[in-house]
Amino acid sequence: MATEGHQEHPLSVYLWIWVLLFVLSMFSYMVDYIGFEGYLRWSLILIFMFAKAGLIIAIFMHMAWERIALIYAILGPPVLLLFLIGLMAVEGDYTLLTRLDFFGETDFVAEH
């Protein structure tokens, strides 16, 4: 089935994943609604985000049933992006320190 690129699966699979995505979205929203802060907030956001992304890619986009040649070709390259993210995080940190060094703390006052 997968070798012909023809993806046909029982409807119940999609319905279950649909329900799961709703529940996970609800959890994501509750993180903000309840108002968790700090590392608890960030890790919960990331956990729910990756769970949702994984379900969409694996089931709705049928990646779980594709051949490994296609899976590696599509999911491999984005790993490189982690380097970009890491480098830009270091860079952002450095820029902030430089700005604080030259300009000091902010004197911004919100208008409303």
Binding site: I17, S28, M49, M61, L70, A73, P78, L84, M88, F108
Partner: protein, 231 residues
Amino acid sequence: MASDVTESGAAAATLPEGFQGLVQDWSSDKQTFQVPWGKAMMWFFLLSDTFIFTCFLTSYMNVRMSTRVPWPNPSEVFALSFGGEPIPLILIAIMTFILITSSGTMALAVNYGYRRDRAKTAALMFITAGFGASFVGMQAFEWTKLIVDEGVRPWSNPMGAPQFGSTFFMITGFHGLHVSAGVIYLAVVALKVLKGDYEASGNYQIVEITGLYWHFVDLVWVFIFAFFYLW
């Protein structure tokens, strides 16, 4: 196979030149991905789109980390009140649920496509497009509220860091364009399904390929929701 080797000299003399030769040389009669070409190409397009959206989100991370000016609290900025107390982030939550719902109807459309149920496939695709259009509508409302009521501009922002405006309009705008293009794409394919354009071949792969694009739009929103609105 052995005859191929011995005759390769003669075959080389008859190889096509120019553009046709380029295509034949690169394809060399081998197939790497055991899926229809349309599906493989859609995946590669989505891969390139992944890089574009990651660049946007990474630059957003960079400017948010490096600004001295306080970042506006998205939970309050995107709160809406329905007569009573403002509910934090409610519009964005509704938009998230709408996109998830549309992803579900799209998955069902793909399924009915392979069962060659034209009416149900087209109907589900139109429903998906309808959800997509309502998503864009809500985004237009959100933009209007931010621009007209709050005075947010791509270069300034009365609530804090000016980078909030530039990254917000860039990221959500680019995503909104993707949704709008997806609505048109869905409508075109749904019409063709309804007209019976794929009946002759009995090949409803196009529905799955359209579905890949639509699920990707939902996938990008998952990341935007997490990083821009919830973080």
